[in-house]
Symmetry: C2
Subunit: 209 residues, 2 copies
C-alpha cells in the first residue's frame, strides 16, 4: 500500500469546517468550495472524502448526533453522587439550551437540519424523532421512579410531563437562538418550571404557609 492517511481525521476536520460555516453564516451558505477553504484543503479533497454534497451533509448530521450523545453521557456522568431525579432531569434538559458559543453553533446547525427534515423526506428524520423519543422515555422513567420514591409529589401523567418538559426546553432553546431570551433567562424559566414540578413551596423560602 502507498501512503495512507487517517481518513477519519481528515473527514473530521472537513466536517468541523462545515460546522463553523453553518454556525456562522447559516447552513444554506455552505458550499463545497467554502468548506474546502475553511478547512484549508483543496476542493478536490472534499470531493475525495465525501463523494457528493449530500454525503457530506449526511456525515455532518451524523457527527452532530454523535457529539450530542457523547455530551449527554459526559454530563450525566458528572452529576455528583446523591444522584437525584431532579438533578438528572435538569442535566438532560440543560443540554437543550445553547449556553456557550460551541453549544450555540451546535443548536443553530441542528435546528437548520431539523427544518430541512420537515420537507426533505430523503434526509433522515430519525435523529429528530427517534432521538427525542428516546430522551422522552428516559425522562418518563425518571419521573416514574421519582414519583414512587416520593421525590416527586402528587400523581400525574409522567409521559405527558416528559413530553411537555422536553418541548419546553426545546422551545426555550430556539428562543435563545433567535435572540428573544438570554441563556440565563431561559435557564431561569426552565428551573422555575422544574421547581413547580418538584414542589415549589419547599424551595421558595418565606412562602411556606
Amino acid at each position: 500500500m502507498p501512503r495512507t492517511v487517517d481518513h477519519a481525521e481528515r473527514r473530521a476536520t472537513i466536517v468541523e469546517a462545515l460546522l463553523r460555516i453553518a454556525g456562522r453564516d447559516g447552513l444554506h451558505t455552505v458550499t463545497l468550495r467554502g468548506v474546502a477553504a475553511e478547512a484549508g484543503v483543496s476542493l478536490r479533497l472534499v470531493q475525495y472524502y465525501f463523494h457528493t454534497k449530500q454525503q457530506l451533509l449526511k456525515a455532518t448530521l451524523d457527527q452532530l448526533e454523535h457529539d450530542s450523545r457523547s455530551r449527554w453521557a459526559t454530563r450525566l456522568a458528572a452529576i455528583p453522587e446523591p444522584r437525584t431525579a431532579r438533578a438528572t432531569i435538569e442535566t438532560l434538559l440543560a443540554e437543550a439550551l445553547p449556553t456557550d458559543e460551541p453549544s450555540r453553533t451546535f443548536h443553530v446547525v441542528w435546528t437548520s437540519y431539523a427544518v430541512l427534515a420537515m420537507t426533505d423526506g430523503t434526509l433522515a428524520a430519525q435523529p429528530f424523532v427517534a432521538g427525542p423519543n428516546l430522551l422522552r422515555e428516559q425522562l418518563t422513567a425518571l419521573f416514574e421512579s421519582a414519583r414512587s420514591s416520593g421525590e416527586l409529589p402528587g400523581h400525574g401523567d409522567s409521559a405527558k410531563e416528559a413530553s411537555g418538559l422536553l418541548a419546553l426546553a426545546h422551545g426555550l432553546g430556539t428562543s435563545v437562538l433567535v435572540g428573544q431570551h438570554s441563556p440565563a433567562e431561559a435557564e431561569g424559566v426552565l428551573r422555575y418550571h422544574l421547581d413547580g414540578l418538584f414542589g415549589r413551596a419547599a424551595l421558595t423560602p418565606g412562602k411556606t404557609p
Copy 2:
C-alpha cells in the same frame, strides 16, 4: 394613466406561490423562476413586483406575520362569551400548533425564516423577538388577572409561567412539524399542562382525595 393593475393582488398571488413552494419543498428550494411558474406568471413579473429576491423574501415574511396576527384576532374574537382566562390562553397557544395543512405550511415556512434569522443579521429579527415578546406580555397579563380573580390558584411568577408556556407551545409545534408528535398528541400535552396550572384536581374526575 395607462392600464393599471392591482399591485397588491399580484404581489399576493406571487407571495402565495412562494409559500406553497416553501411549504412543500423547503424555503431553500425557492427560486424566482420556480415562484413564477408556480404563480403562473413570467419571471419578469416576479422581478417587476419585487425587484430583488431579498425583497420578495422580506415581503413574504411580512405577509406571514400579518396573516398570523389576523388569525389570532379571529380566534380570539371567536371565543364564546364567558371569556375565561383559561380559554383565552388556550386559544393563544393553540395557534402555535400546526393542525391543518395550511397551518403546517405556515409554521414550516415561519420556522425556516427563524432559522435564517439566527445567522443572517440583515433579516429582520423583530418578528421572532418582538412578536413572541408581545405575546408573552399578553399571557403574563392574563395570568395576573386570572390570579387576582381567583381563576388561577396559587402564587407564582406570571412572567416565567408565560415564557415557559410559550416555549412549551412552540416546542410542541416543532415536534409536530418534525413528525415526532401528532397534532392531537401535542394538543393533549398542552392541555395537560394547562390543566396542571389551573388546578388538575378540579378537572380530573375520580381523583379528588
